[in-house]
Amino acid sequence: MDGLEDRLKEALRRVNEHVQSPELEQVTPDLDIFDAVDSMAIVDLLLETEAMLEEQSGAYVPLADETIFDASKSPLKRWSDWVAFVERRRADAD
């Protein structure tokens, strides 16, 4: 995945500098970001990740959709789903 996951980890680390959630310090495939932080931190994470993708590819890839803030469907409920979600959005934008 051309280092995408590492970059997503870096985006999460930057957001957690402000949020300071101990649960976000260790990234595992099952990490549940959605329940670990509030909705403002999720907005931060989306903006940070969008900026990171734009920096990498030069193209703006919007990540917010109707599932992001949905407790039953959000890709942020599992780290591995989040990585796959971003990968999909990036591919759609190409």
Binding site: V43, D44, L46, L47, E54, P62, A64
Partner: protein
């Protein structure tokens, strides 16, 4: 911060405000009117509104009515509370399907912004951040995300958020940070292209053709800046005759008269700058040095680390002509009459120095100056200048308390805020001093360095003691790195020590007040 969007990403202030301990509180989204109706909870209230707040499903009349209601609420808050309020222009840019309707939409957005500008004009404690300009500079397609606007109530991408954050930091700095006072300039390849000593006066480039046009525009920018109170100095390694001839014979915007200090010689630039600091009686940290030569910049930075240095590179015209606007220390919210007259004041000062050298004693010199003071009390017309002096005076400042314009208004309601103007035979120095008395204590006592050495200090203290009554009056000295010259001011002027802490901070009480060697006439003004 409050807004119709999430403000937390925008309000993550950092390096731009690093000299202050800043904490930011974010109100819930869509609480703008509630926040404006409540008492101020902080020194600064940032209100961030998006175009949706005014334009969403509104016809033009409704949009303008919404803006009027918003401006009225801000105006009421600004009149009532001491906080600085920062608002923003409309960020969106309308789509074009029908040309004339597009123009009407642009016109409506301009009308909405115009109401904000009028608000800021009428209320000195209201600042405006140009969100629309930021979006335009970045490019609307890159700065705005309709997806994010609708899904997250956050219309901006991160690049726009970062730019907005910097703009808000700057808006706060414009009000509270001390402005730089002097720009020192190299000549060759900075004010003109080429080296006058080698290329000759006719060989330097400073005409209307490129690359001379770059230098010519830079000179015009410097003149515009000088009109806002920034002093210009010339520091160049050259033969004086060559430089004088260049200014005399070549048609260019800058003239030698524009410079408050000139050093044309072959000495180290740092030595010349240190001399100019002494001559103008200004701190090195109030100075900026601009040169094309990295070696000279390094030399000055190494010898005088307090001086900020910047490279002028005419080969990169955008950077070169954007240089002055990019220097945070040059920005300010507004300028006073004193700022505008600053160059003339320094010219007057040079004439005073000539007189000083001609007279035989200090006493004769002071008499020959024919100094007069004007003392105002709680004058609304002087709020801006008083706030400015509290924020930029470092040396003759007994407590170094910084006050915004809104703070001064509040102090005038509850205490005594004196403004002191100085005139002499050479000219009007403007308001050069401020004394604030609250709860029977001299809270602030400060004089501009240009006014020192004339016996004015004791005369001002005497006037204040007479006006507020000396009995039971206390005063305080709070030491800083820069105000050592005032450490014994109250000791020498009829106050006695009540207590002194281990850092040197001292509380005094009135013990007769100053004994005046030479009485200076003081006129009270309304």
């Amino acid at each position: 911060m409050a807004g119709d969007v999430l403000t937390r990403p925008i309000g993550r202030f950092g390096a731009g405000l690093e000299e202050w301990e800043v904490s930011v509180e974010h109100h819930e989204i869509d609480q703008l009117f509630q926040v404006l109706a409540a008492p101020a909870a902080a020194d600064v209230l940032i209100l961030h509104t998006t175009s949706d707040f005014f334009l969403d499903e509104a016809d033009p009349g409704e949009a303008l009515a919404r803006m009027d209601a918003y401006c009225a609420a801000v105006a009421e808050f600004a009149a009532r509370e001491p906080a600085l309020v920062v608002v923003n222009t409309i960020e969106s840019r309308p789509d074009r399907i029908v040309g004339v309707e597009h123009l009407a939409a642009l016109e409506l957005e301009a009308a909405l912004d115009a109401r904000l500008f009028d608000l800021a004009r009428r209320h000195p404690s209201v600042s405006v951040v140009d969100a629309g300009g930021i979006v335009a500079r970045i490019g609307a397609d890159r700065a705005l995300s309709l997806q994010n606007r609708l899904a997250m109530r956050m219309p901006y991408t991160k690049v726009a958020i970062d730019a907005l954050r910097l703009a808000y930091e700057q808006a706060i700095r414009e009000r509270y940070a001390a402005r730089k006072k002097v720009i020192l300039l190299d000549a060759d390849n900075t004010l003109w292209g080429g080296i006058v000593g080698e290329d000759g006066v006719e060989g330097i480039a400073v005409d209307r053709q490129y690359p001379g046009s770059v230098y010519r525009r830079f000179q015009s920018q410097l003149i515009a800046l000088a009109r806002t109170g920034i002093l210009l100095g010339l520091v160049t390694k050259n033969n004086p005759a060559d430089v004088e001839e260049a200014f005399q014979r070549r048609d260019m915007p800058l003239k030698l008269d524009h410079f408050a200090a000139v050093r044309v010689n072959w000495g180290a630039k740092s030595d010349n700058i240190a001399q100019i600091a002494q001559e103008l009686n200004l701190g090195l940290d109030s100075m900026i040095f601009i040169d094309d030569n990295p070696f000279e910049l390094e030399q000055v930075k190494a010898a005088l680390p307090d001086v900020d240095v910047y490279r002028f590179d005419a080969a990169k015209a955008d950077a070169a002509l954007g240089l002055l606007a990019s220097i945070p220390g040059l920005r300010t919210w507004s300028v006073t009459a004193e700022d505008r007259g600053k160059a003339a004041q320094y010219r007057d000062e040079r004439q005073r120095n000539v007189l000083k050298q001609q007279t035989t004693s200090l006493e004769d010199y002071l008499k020959s100056l024919e100094i007069e003071l004007e003392a105002g009390l709680n004058r609304a017309s002087q709020v801006k200048r008083i706030s400015q002096l509290t924020n930029k005076t470092n040396q003759f400042n007994l407590t170094t308390k910084r006050y915004s314009e809104a703070d001064i208004v509040r102090l005038m309601e509850t205490g005594f805020v004196f403004d002191i103007r100085l005139r002499d035979r050479f000219g009007d120095m403007g308001v050069i001093g401020v004394v604030i008395v609250r709860d029977r204590e001299i809270d602030s006592f400060l004089l501009s360095c240009r006014a020192l050495g004339r016996g004015v200090e004791a005369q001002v203290l005497d006037h204040v003691c007479r006006k507020v009554g000396g009995e039971g009056l206390s005063a305080r000295y709070v030491p800083t790195r820069k105000n050592m010259m005032t450490a014994l001011f109250y000791d020498a002027n009829g106050f006695e020590i009540v207590e002194r802490d281990e850092d040197g901070g001292t509380l005094y009480r009135f013990a007769g007040g100053p004994t005046l060697a030479h009485a200076i006439p003081v006129t009270e003004v309304d």
